[in-house]
């Protein structure tokens, strides 16, 4: 069956034809000749029901992946899902880039929008404005439709409750970022190295935005915080691990990961200081992937209330939808006071700010 296909007549309106979808289509009409099959696929209605298999590159955690796929298959029949799990969005982004000559992914789900956005600008993503995206506030989605935000990750702090109760009587839990400058915290904080981790950098950018882009004030804060930091760690999850073990008492980190650790029985608590940063967890469609039509069906479903509730339940993230309450132990969107986080500015000024931070804290 090594048939060469002519490209679809209209690149924009036609689902991309691949060998797999072709075989499926060809298989449905017994008695059709091969030529007839091609004609049927090319000339058939554009709005045929999506089917076949899709490949999802997922930066979500393992439990979420499994439950998510099961729920999707139940909700949308006829589409099989193959998940490539890699809980590191940067690697998935790199994979999509390196695979651009022959894309293997249909959907890229999870990970901060910072990882989706450049791919869209490089022309590697398929613009798609899902009908279900209307429930997503504009500030959480790409105006060009390359990616749609569907959850929020809140930056905050993880606290070891055992050690905090035993060793830090009279000290209050951090309600504002300045509370971390109390000398009582000296040596008890572990912080993800901003040169190596996205989270560590978001923390610096958050300070800058908190001071209305007054970088000197932000650096002054980071410098004073540096005096209290016992250690810097190589990854964000490692910080939670270290606080959970009691090696340190507090670490700035991602709220959903902190709650996950807490639910596993670690003696930790999620504390959110006022004026914090956040990430927009995005979903996008890879351009030229094996099964774009089915990918759209997947994105449509990921933006439903049902999927949002499942994600909140399994990963403790906040949904961008107003009608989905947060996970137990997690604050609501109204409760956390987010800074006015300017994503484009933060990414454009990354190297400069990191150098400034290195100079201020060494």
């Amino acid at each position: 069956m090594d048939v060469k296909f002519s490209p679809p007549l209209d690149e924009n309106s036609m689902p991309r034809l691949t060998r797999r979808t072709f075989l499926k289509v060809a298989g449905t009409g017994i008695g059709l000749t091969v030529a007839g099959g091609i004609l049927a696929a090319c000339g058939g209605p554009a709005q045929q029901k999506a089917s076949g298999k899709i490949s999802v590159y997922s930066a979500l955690n393992e439990t979420t992946n499994n439950a998510f796929v099961d729920a999707f298959k139940k909700a949308v029949t006829g589409i099989d899902v193959e998940v490539l799990p890699l809980a590191a969005a940067g690697e998935l982004q790199t994979r999509i880039r390196t695979e651009k000559n022959s894309p293997k992914a249909d959907v890229f789900i999870g990970g901060s929008s910072e990882f989706h956005d450049p791919l869209g600008k490089e022309g590697l993503l398929e613009a798609y404005k899902s009908p279900n995206a209307s429930s997503v506030p504009d500030m959480y989605k790409d105006p060009n439709g390359f990616w749609t935000g569907w959850y929020l990750g809140i930056w905050g702090t993880v606290l070891n409750t055992d050690r905090f109760a035993k060793e830090m009587s009279g000290v209050k839990k951090p309600a504002v970022w300045e509370d971390l400058l109390d000398p009582a915290w000296k040596g008890k904080i572990v912080y993800p190295d901003p040169v190596k981790t996205g989270g560590g950098y978001i923390m610096i950018a958050t300070q800058v935005f908190r001071f209305n882009k007054d970088e000197d004030k932000a650096m002054d804060y980071m410098k004073k915080l540096h005096a209290n930091i016992g250690q810097y760690a190589g990854t964000s999850p490692q910080c939670i691990q270290l606080v959970g073990q009691g090696q340190f008492v507090l670490a700035p980190n991602w709220g959903h990961d902190i709650l996950t650790a807490k639910n596993q029985g670690q003696p930790v608590e999620f504390v959110v200081p006022e004026g914090t940063g956040f990430e927009i967890g995005a979903v996008s469609i890879v351009k030229g992937g094996p099964n774009t039509a089915a990918a759209k069906a997947f994105v449509d479903w990921a933006l439903t209330k049902e999927a949002a509730q499942l994600n909140v339940k399994l990963s403790n993230r906040l949904s961008v939808r107003n009608d989905v309450p947060p996970a137990p132990g997690s604050p609501t969107l109204e409760q956390v006071k987010l800074v006015n986080y300017d994503r484009a500015w933060a990414s454009d000024n990354k190297d400069r700010l990191l150098k400034k931070w290195q100079a201020a804290t060494s």
């Binding site: 490949s55 955690n61 393992e62 193959e82 998940v83 490539l84 799990p85 890699l86 809980a87 590191a88 969005a89 940067g90 690697e91 982004q93 790199t94 994979r95 880039r97 390196t98 695979e99 000559n101 022959s102 293997k104 910072e114 990882f115 572990v190 190295d193 040169v195 190596k196 981790t197 996205g198 560590g200 950098y201 016992g230 250690q231 810097y232 760690a233 190589g234 990854t235 999850p237 939670i240 691990q241 270290l242 959970g244 073990q245 009691g246 090696q247 340190f248 990961d257 996950t260 650790a261 596993q264 029985g265 670690q266 003696p267 990414s347 990354k350 190297d351 990191l354 150098k355 290195q358």
Partner: protein, 539 residues
């Protein structure tokens, strides 16, 4: 060149080997080097974010290499010269650090020696800050001393005991013999051991990622740029700095190695026991080996404890539930076993054939191919993986099974290891032996097959074992290549760690190490030989 034109089969073999090398080593690497473009390089180098990691890398390299080589030398000396008890045990323990997959082992150091560590805090009441250069130094010393040990043991074992006996007979004391005979004889080998260990330390990613804290080295910076910021261009530029550094070290190694004679299979047999060392030295050696082994056993002990307890270190209740993850993810263990076994076998066969063509035959471009065969050793794993993903993910190659591509990457990623072993083995066999065969009318390939190949069994097994272990423990090479159906064990561990599933990650690691030990034991059992895993790219 004459032999090649006279023997078309030989020429054809050579052509195929070289073509494979260009396709699977040079071509993918060029893809990565080209990614940033001149502008990208200029911008990145002008920004200057690489200066500190570069300095840090050199500092960590100097410190860790020094201690690893000193410990390696002591260990090797104890194993070869002394008659201390428990040698087989120490040999086994000295192999363990080679089997550790990234991420998990460095974490058990923190559990032991961290600010609230079991040893540091609960036992000694100290609160050590191990995250940083200090911790990295300690961990890398333990992780890389086995490499230094294997390299140096090789050199020491090769020195002729007759020289030492003669010196003793002429009235020299043990210390004088060590200083004036043993050490000078070992010097070129030592220097090359230092350089090779330095390359390994320089490329180390797993340990600095978990224990170096803010002390950023080049591999962690490259990884952080990709994984934290999606900065592919910056990562490629950092990798290029690493590549240049490693190549410089490697050229130094070649220079030092150039004029050593290794011939030990010459027909003129003759061996005698080494002169005995004083009792004090024997017991000193035993003490040092015992302490080292103790530390290694503790580190792996913590791993096993984490796998067998509910939530180590806060809840020590016994459980087997974490091993359920070994069952759930058995497919990735199976893939690891299949890919790594096949890759290791093909890798050692390819290497032995290549070593034969390079060491025994004269042809133009020989030096370049020799260099290419070593190059992967100087390439950071993440760089190798990105190169493969960029070069071979093409529409016209879509028929290629991903598992096959992963195997190919493992074969060529480990060529330096097996190739150096084969080369060293060949250097020990006197040319007159296979020349006798060709004089009697056998073709070169027949001479290789019937004479050299059987004699090269040992270096081949060395290459096989080491290539296997390295393939089993690599994460960065496969992370850009695996697909849902071709997941391997290190990816699973990575996922479990990122999922905060510490018990599952340690249980799976225990399973993986068990698998590696089982495979090595089978090789050992079949061949009746012990030291399977050895120095890799050294001489």
């Amino acid at each position: 060149m004459k032999t090649l034109t006279r023997e078309p089969m030989l020429g054809l073999t050579l052509l195929i080997l070289v073509a494979l090398m260009f396709s699977f080593i040079l071509y993918p690497q060029i893809q990565v080097v080209l990614v940033p473009g001149l502008k990208g390089y200029f911008a990145f180098f002008a920004e200057g974010m690489w200066v500190k990691p570069l300095v840090n890398s050199l500092e960590a390299m100097a410190l860790s290499t020094t201690t690893a080589v000193i410990l390696g030398f002591l260990y090797a000396y104890a194993m070869i010269y002394s008659d201390m008890p428990g040698k087989p045990f120490f040999r086994l323990i000295g192999m363990l650090p080679l089997l550790s997959p990234p991420f998990v082992v460095a974490a058990s150091y923190i559990l032991l020696f961290g600010p609230r560590g079991l040893i540091s805090y609960r036992l000694l009441g100290q609160s050590w800050n191990v995250l940083g250069l200090g911790g990295l130094w300690g961990v890398q010393t333990i992780a890389y001393f086995p490499f230094a040990y294997q390299l140096i043991a090789d050199v020491l074992a090769r020195s002729d005991p007759r020289m030492e006996q003669a010196a003793r007979n002429l009235g020299a004391g043990p210390w004088q013999v060590f200083r004036t005979v043993t050490l000078p004889l070992a010097r070129p080998g030592l220097a090359s051991a230092i350089l090779i260990t330095a390359i390994y330390v320089l490329e180390d990613f797993g340990n600095p990622a978990l224990i170096a804290g803010r002390f950023t080295v080049l591999p962690t910076q490259a990884y952080g740029l990709v994984s934290g910021f999606g900065d592919f261009v910056g990562a490629a530029a950092v990798s290029t700095i690493l590549l240049v550094l490693a190549l410089m070290l490697y050229l130094g190694h070649l220079r030092l190695e150039g004029n050593r004679s290794f011939v030990t299979v010459s027909g003129k047999a003759g061996s005698m026991p080494r002169p005995p060392v004083p009792r004090l030295v024997t017991w000193g050696a035993f003490t040092i080996c015992a302490i080292l082994s103790g530390v290694i056993l503790m580190v792996y002990g913590v791993l096993v404890l984490s796998a067998l307890t509910k939530a180590f270190p806060s809840n020590w209740a016994f459980t087997l539930e974490h091993f359920d993850y070994v069952r759930v993810h058995s497919k990735s263990l199976e893939n690891t076993f299949v890919y790594c076994s096949i890759a290791a076998i093909l890798c050692s066969l390819y290497s032995v054939l290549l070593a034969f063509l390079i060491q025994r035959k004269e042809w133009p471009g020989r030096r370049i191919v020799d260099f290419l065969a070593i190059m992967p050793a100087a390439v950071p794993g993440i760089f190798f993986g990105i190169g493969y993903a960029t070069a071979f993910n093409q529409r016209w190659l879509d028929w290629l099974d991903r598992g096959v591509l992963i195997m190919i990457s493992m074969i060529f990623w480990n060529i330096p290891v097996a190739y150096r072993a084969a080369l060293a083995g060949l250097a020990q066999i006197d040319r007159s032996i296979d020349e006798a065969a060709t004089s009697l009318g056998a073709g070169s390939l027949r001479g290789f097959r019937d004479i050299l190949f059987p004699l090269l069994r040992e270096p081949m097994l060395t290459g096989l074992g080491t290539a296997f272990v390295r393939a089993v423990t690599t994460l960065s090479v496969v992370i850009f290549l695996f697909t849902p159906g071709t997941t391997v064990a290190t990816i699973t561990i990575f996922q479990l760690v990122n999922d905060f599933n510490w018990g599952g990650a340690t249980a799976f690691t225990v399973g993986l190490i068990g698998l590696a030990i089982a495979v090595l034991s089978v090789i050992w059992f079949v061949t009746g030989r012990r030291a399977i895993v050895t120095h890799s790219i050294g001489g």
